[in-house]
């Protein structure tokens, strides 16, 4: 069975999930668990870091679709960062860049969250 792990850390009020290994139909439940646990804790501002992700299958992509609506309904978002070219190409092929913000690094994504928060507060 292919190896896949996630680790989650908190940075400036944003949850950052690090993906490592092979995300496919078999390992999808590991990521599901990570999302579920954040949602249960009421943490809806999520950055997913793909730096250590070697492979993603369409079932793996499905996990992002399965949670996005719930997260956005709660004024949160999933932002994607540090994809390698292979992984980005798959996301691109399926049109994910239309629906998800993709950044080069965690800092930019976190900044975006915090900007949104500030403009909300200003309103």
């Amino acid at each position: 069975m292919s190896e896949f792990t996630t680790s989650t850390k908190q940075l400036d009020g944003v949850s950052v999930i690090n993906l490592k290994g092979f995300l496919d139909a078999h390992t999808a439940q590991v990521l599901e668990a990570a999302f579920t646990s954040l949602i249960n804790d009421g943490k809806f501002n999520i950055v997913v870091n793909f730096k250590d992700l070697a492979y993603i299958s369409s079932a793996g992509l499905g996990v992002f679709m399965a949670y996005i609506e719930n997260i956005r309904d709660n004024n949160g978002d999933i932002k994607l960062v540090e994809m390698n070219e292979k992984v980005f190409n798959i996301f691109d092929l399926l049109g994910f860049p239309l629906l998800y913000q993709i950044f080069n690094n965690e800092e930019d994504a976190i900044k975006k969250f915090n900007e949104a928060k500030q403009s909300e507060n200003a309103e």
Binding site: A28, A59, G60, L61, G62, F64, A66, E69, L93, L99
Partner: protein, 558 residues
């Protein structure tokens, strides 16, 4: 003067060479078009300029300078003839375009170039027009190349997407092959589909006539969805249904915002449905999308079905194992050893059919000179019959311990069995007490096949008794009979498993055959008689499946 002309020609030439070098060094259409416009505008001091290209038969504005970004371009057609179009002429006039020419590559018109008047109010000279034509000729090839490249890119993306779909399907089939839990299969299926098409609302349901609708995965309220689904003959959905048809034919489902329903089929039978909401990218589902979803669904349903069958098989095996245990328990209820007596020899056997059965016999010593022999056949088969038989055996054991009289005891057993049975179950029952001291046999027959008493080559049927056990409480007392036994008397007790044993022609073994055998064999020992009868029944029914228990008891006076 001539020198000035020369310098001008030289400058034009070097500009053309530079231009050619630049635009041929790139395959980026935007860059190429931009370069053409800027070059011409710079050369002619014009403030407005555009290029429109033929894309799939339509002419689209592809690059503009000095126009508003949302400038509407008229719908025009161009061919290889001269430009002759009122809409275009009007558009050009409104925008101060004074020069409009075709861009022609290998004799095909691929678009038009147009430019406004010069800011210095000069007209375009012959030379200017010549220069422009040269520019456009050089550009045509570069434009053509980059259009082809763009088309190739689109094709490539399409191919990539196909390839991705195929490899996704391949991966799914690999995963589904592992007989994962059905909820897991549904989840993998749906993830693969929603990831592929960016769908956020969905459900996977299966159904079969026995268990009804089962929702495996859903982003909707399960109860509401079930209710809506139950309004329609969903197993009759054999083809994918798109939004318009859902709204028309399945309005209750349309309320969930479904845009696509895809059946999951095995051998043309619809076993489940994938219900999908719209795509978040606002794209419509294409035929090839549906094809993918259908394929993924088919792989999944086969896996689900396999798993169901596998589970069923395991259940069956478990049930058989339990029945095996039940049979063992039942066997243990029958006497292990037949006690020995002074004046009488006893042999008994029970061959149970494949299922747990309802036959029963027992030999219970009552004192040092008497014993009770009993034989019974519980109606039906399987666990209910076996339980009732175990009940009877327990009653019998207790009654024998308390030394009750045969007639009263039979009435009591009947009452107890009647209280303990439902669904019209009953027991045919025969029992008797043999007294070894005075060689008497007192019996009661409660509806059992009459045992045979063979004496001097004649058969007497032991019929005295009453109603079968378990039908109604004892109303009229059972009758009993006491027989004074003589030396060499043989008593044969049996169940209908013997007389109704079938051969391959579906004939029964019959009472006659048993009686003839009993008469002919009465000279032998009980063991031999028993063996012979057993063997001839088994010989008779060779090639058939034993459907009933066979129980046989033979007593013989010394």
């Amino acid at each position: 003067m001539e020198d000035k002309e020369n310098i001008k020609v030289k400058r034009n030439l070097s500009a053309l060479v530079e231009f050619s070098r630049v635009i041929n060094s790139s395959l980026d259409l935007g860059f190429i078009l931009n370069n053409i416009l800027l070059t011409c505008m710079g050369k002619f001091l014009a403030s407005k300029c555009y290029i429109a290209l033929k894309i799939e038969g339509n002419v689209e504005l592809k690059a503009i300078k000095g126009f508003k970004a949302d400038t509407a371009f008229p719908k025009i057609k161009i061919d290889n003839g001269p430009i002759d179009c009122n809409d275009l002429a009007k558009f050009n006039e409104e925008n101060n375009i004074v020069l409009c020419d075709k861009i022609v590559s290998s004799n095909d018109c691929i678009g038009i170039f147009a430019i406004s008047g010069k800011l210095n109010k000069h007209n375009y000279s012959e030379d200017d027009q010549e220069f422009l034509r040269t520019i456009l000729n050089i550009s045509a090839t570069a434009i053509q190349n980059s259009i082809v490249l763009d088309e190739l890119k689109v094709m490539n993306k399409l191919l990539d997407s196909r390839l991705h779909k195929i490899s996704s399907l391949f991966e799914l089939s690999k995963e589904f092959g592992m007989l994962s839990e059905s909820k897991r299969v549904a989840k993998m299926l749906i993830y693969s589909v929603i990831g592929q098409f960016l769908i956020s609302k969905f459900a996977v349901v299966t159904f079969d006539p026995l268990t009804g609708i089962r929702i495996l995965e859903s982003k909707y309220n399960d109860d509401d969805l079930k209710k809506a689904l139950s309004k329609y003959d969903i197993s009759g959905i054999h083809d994918p249904i798109f939004k318009a048809a859902i709204e028309e034919k399945y309005p209750k489902l349309a309320l969930f915002g479904l845009e696509l329903i895809v059946p999951m089929q095995i051998q043309g039978k619809t076993k489940g449905l994938m219900l999908l909401g719209g795509r978040m990218s606002d794209l419509e589902y294409t035929e090839s999308d549906v094809e993918y979803i259908y394929s993924a669904g088919s792989i999944a349903i086969i896996s689900l079905e396999n798993r169901r069958l596998f589970k069923e098989e395991i259940e069956k095996q478990k049930m058989e194992e339990e029945l095996e245990i039940a049979r063992d328990i039942q066997k243990n209820l029958l006497p292990h050893q037949i006690p020995e007596f002074r004046n009488i020899e006893v042999a008994a056997t029970n061959i149970s059919s494949k299922q747990v059965g309802g036959d029963f016999y027992d030999i219970i010593p009552l004192s040092d000179h008497s014993f009770c022999a009993a034989i019974a056949d519980v109606s039906g088969k399987g666990v209910p019959a076996a339980l009732l038989m175990a009940n009877l055996q327990a009653f019998l054991k207790i009654i024998c311990k308390h030394g009750m009289q045969l007639v009263e005891a039979t009435a009591l057993i009947n009452d107890l069995i009647t209280e303990n049975t439902m669904d019209g179950k009953f027991i045919t029952y025969f029992w008797g007490i043999f007294d070894d001291n005075n060689r008497t046999f007192q019996y009661v027959n409660a509806g059992h096949n009459p045992p045979l008493l063979i004496r001097d080559g004649k058969i007497t049927y032991l019929k005295k008794g009453g109603i079968i056990l378990g039908v109604m409480k004892t109303f009229t007392p059972y009758l009993s009979e006491t027989i004074q036994l003589e030396k060499d008397d043989v008593i044969v007790l049996f169940t209908d498993g013997i007389t109704e044993a079938k051969n391959i022609n579906d004939d029964e073994f019959s009472d006659e055959k048993l009686e003839t055998l009993a008469l002919n064999l009465s000279g032998f020992s009980p063991d031999r008689i028993l063996e012979y009868i057993k063997e001839s029944v088994q010989e008779f029914s060779v090639g058939t499946h034993q459907s009933d228990d066979i129980t046989l008891m033979v007593l013989k006076l010394k």
